[in-house]
């Protein structure tokens, strides 16, 4: 066992640090210090600008292999990159194309599909959103109903998707549709890609408890999608979705962000009068220890992956623990904000800078244990797949 970096890894860390220090803009750093993200303190223009800078450097998709235009980094390099990125206050990739669709395309896409979509993810020309949940299909995702009826070379889509994050920013959607209503419900699901400007597609905002617009409901009224946009075979959508979800779960632990955020919480505690508040310090210490445990658990799982294993159901644990930690950290900031939790929206300026986005981030952060398979669903997955119950 060894946690030290080799000279090459140290040089790599320096390279990454130098690049971020040169290229990060004060507005992004400030947003990170305030604990805010896209939809909150960061505008779409800022996000796009940053993504293009990353694209020019070839770092849009740090986890991708060289063959698909990624940097092909080792797990350690990726870990270093993410740690430095988060600590210096650069946002994680905004697009769902990088962490979610990309890996699924690499595994299940045709050569034409890979060639068409992967470079556009890398260049940040395409912004992807995810069409999974429906009004009647949340935790029970497989009961989704959005109908895709075959008509010549196209499918015709009718129905709706809900909780679609950033649908109003995205130009494309990867989507689960029902191509067969008979038989086992998982077997009638297909995975398809579509353009957000398709005729018959309507996006309506849903304002969430942070008072912001991240979420949408998307309505499909005879939306035509070419069959060539299917990923995998018709009826194979559940397999593709599960693969993608496992990737999402393992990238969701957020260790890099949490490390940077605990550091910020410690600074805030000192600067706002909580340095000698034993109860607050104990809560920070507890969150810090959860982070340490999660960091090592993730490393233990990843070292299994490097020896060729597939991320399995164990990754559900990373999702559960990672999102709980993320919420605990947001809660600490709100706890420390005291009466500054009151000023709302236009009055945000009344709050000290460190608390400007505290309630928004805390409020919207409740979503973390709901999306991507709720915590309770993950418990079910672990009970069944890992514990054999």
């Amino acid at each position: 066992m060894d946690t030290s970096y080799s000279p090459e890894e140290q040089a790599f860390k320096q390279e990454v640090t130098d690049w971020f220090e040169t290229n990060l803009t004060p507005d992004l750093i400030a947003a990170a210090e305030a604990g805010a993200d896209l939809g909150g303190a960061i505008t779409l223009e800022q996000a796009v600008g940053w993504s293009k800078k990353l694209a020019a450097k070839g770092w849009t998709a740090p986890s991708w292999p060289k063959a698909y235009g990624g940097p092909g980094w080792s797990a350690t390099q990726l870990y270093i990159f993410n740690s430095v990125r988060a600590e210096l206050g650069a946002p994680a990739p905004f697009s769902m194309g990088v962490a979610m669709l990309g890996p699924a395309l690499m595994k299940f896409g045709t050569p034409e599909q890979k060639e068409k979509y992967l470079p556009q993810i890398l260049s940040s020309e395409d912004w992807w959103c995810q069409g999974y949940s429906e009004p009647g299909a949340g935790s029970d995702l497989a009961s989704l109903k959005l109908a895709a009826v075959s008509d010549g070379d196209d499918y015709v889509l009718n129905g709706s998707k809900i909780w679609t994050t950033s649908a109003h920013h995205a130009n494309r959607m990867f989507c689960l549709v029902r191509t067969n209503a008979d038989g086992k419900k998982q077997e009638g699901i297909s995975f398809i890609l579509l353009d957000m400007d398709s005729p018959g597609l309507d996006i309506r905002p849903i304002i969430s408890i942070d008072g912001e617009h991240h979420l949408n409901q998307v309505f499909f009224d005879d939306v035509r999608v070419p069959k060539a946009n299917l990923i995998g075979e018709e009826g194979q959508g559940w397999t593709v979705a599960k693969y993608l979800l496992t990737h999402e779960r393992s990238s969701i632990s957020g260790v890099a962000e949490a490390t940077a955020n605990i550091k910020r919480i410690r600074r805030i505690a000192c600067e706002h009068g909580y340095e000698d508040d034993l109860q607050m310090q104990l809560k920070i210490a507890s969150a810090d220890l959860e982070l340490t445990a999660l960091k090592y658990t993730e490393s233990r799982m990843l070292s299994g992956l490097e020896s060729g294993q597939v991320p399995g159901a164990e990754s559900s644990m990373l999702k559960i623990k990672g999102t709980e930690l993320q919420q605990d950290i947001a809660e600490l900031r709100v706890d420390m904000a005291g009466h500054y939790a009151y000023p709302w929206q236009d009055a945000a300026e009344v709050r000290p800078f460190d608390f400007r986005w505290a309630t928004q981030v805390y409020n919207f952060g409740r979503a973390a244990t709901i999306y991507g398979g709720s915590t309770e669903v993950q418990y079910g997955v672990l009970a069944k797949m890992v514990l054999g119950l």
Binding site: D2, C270, G380, L387
Partner: protein
């Protein structure tokens, strides 16, 4: 982060696991805890022959020069068996203490017999106050000519009734809670004036309160420098705390596995109780606490070797606090899910519960270490 093990490390792990599985099942252990010494000298001899008593001690004295990683792997395996033999007291705590703080002449005299299984060493630092504080030393050692004369009392010294020699912390100067002025002495357990009151302990072992009445030791029995015993003691305690965390994970794993097996077979309302979601989720909590605790043990096993004192202290307190919290959850959950039978002396689960409770009360409670971690990191 490389969290893999070398082939040698895995071989040690497997050999200890095999021993516990084959020769140290729950019944065998129970029989041992009914004998006078409450452990087996034969086993101890066998440990020596297998090289287990010297795994982390220097090669020049007959050891293998391993480190906390080897200790971690062995201790987790020992935990599954709830080992009664004084491995922690004699090898981990006292062996490390000698190796860190003794002169080369003392090492030469003590380590080879310790490694060969002919010398049982026990370190006595705890005193009457229940709150953990190794700095609080009221036992006095007064210099008289070439000798020191020791007076005072140490309490709940585990494995002391079987010890050949004791390592005793005593004050040569300063007030009761001064970190400086603490010295460490090697005292023969049979020396005149050493009076042991021995008793049984909840984990099936033996312990003693020890009175020192004008116990005279020679200056050559002083370990390290007079008045500077605290640093040496602290280093040994750090290594021992890390080892005990691994031991606790071994016990947690066994309690968890027994409980998982139980809910798959125990039927109520016409189905195995593992079909009930409320029990499934509680089991998942136990699983996650076990795995997270193990991760913390990896962390501390790496960081406890650091040259930086703050890194070591943070790692040790962080691990002890976190593993303690997880240990409670797994221990209490195991008894609860077993129901009535979990309450019985007969079942191993209750013994894991007891021993995990004791782990939380050893070398500083969960609260003590969480507070210390908070102070070290704020």
């Amino acid at each position: 982060m490389d969290l893999s093990f070398s082939e040698e490390q895995l071989l040690i792990k497997e050999s200890v696991e095999k021993f516990i599985e084959k020769d140290y099942d729950f019944e065998t252990r129970n029989k041992l805890s009914e004998t006078e010494e409450r452990f087996s000298r034969e086993n101890w001899k066998q440990f020596a022959e297998l090289g287990w008593l010297g795994v982390t001690l220097p090669e020049e004295f007959g050891g293998f020069s391993g480190g906390p990683t080897e200790t971690m792997l062995m201790m987790e395996a020992f935990g599954a068996g709830m080992l009664l033999e004084p491995y922690t007291s004699s090898v981990v705590m006292s062996g490390n203490l000698i190796n860190i703080g003794a002169s080369s002449a003392q090492k030469k005299a003590l380590l080879p017999p310790l490694i060969e299984g002919d010398l049982l060493l026990v370190t006595a630092f705890a005193e009457t106050q229940p709150q953990y504080n190794p700095v609080s030393v009221s036992v006095q050692a007064q210099k008289q000519g070439d000798n020191y004369v020791i007076n005072g009392e140490k309490v709940v010294i585990l494995d002391a009734p079987s010890a050949d020699k004791l390592i005793v912390s005593a004050r040569t100067s300063g007030k009761t809670t001064d970190p400086s002025g603490i010295s460490l002495f090697l005292v023969d357990a049979n020396a005149a004036g050493v009076e042991l009151t021995s008793y049984n302990t909840m984990d099936g072992g033996r312990a003693a309160n020890i009175n020192f009445n004008n116990v005279s030791v020679s200056a050559s029995d002083l370990l390290g420098t007079e008045g500077e015993g605290h640093d040496v003691l602290s280093r040994a305690i750090e290594l021992t705390t890390a080892a005990l965390c691994a031991h606790a994970v071994g016990m947690m794993r066994s309690a968890y596995e027994a409980t998982l097996e139980y809910i798959k077979t125990r039927e109520q309302f016409g189905v195995p109780i593992g079909k009930f979601q409320v029990l499934q989720h509680r089991m998942v909590d136990m699983y996650m606490n076990l795995e997270q605790a193990r991760s913390m043990v990896y962390m501390v096993s790496i960081d406890v070797t650091s040259d930086d004192a703050l890194t070591r202290q943070k790692a040790v307190s962080g691990a002890k606090a976190y593993v303690g919290k997880c240990a409670r959850l797994v221990a209490q959950g195991s008894v609860q899910i077993h129901g009535g039978v979990g309450m019985t002396e007969e079942l191993d689960v209750g013994h894991y519960f007891r021993n995990l409770t004791l782990f939380c009360n050893t070398l500083g409670s969960t609260d003590f270490h969480l507070k210390r971690y908070a102070e070290l990191t704020k």
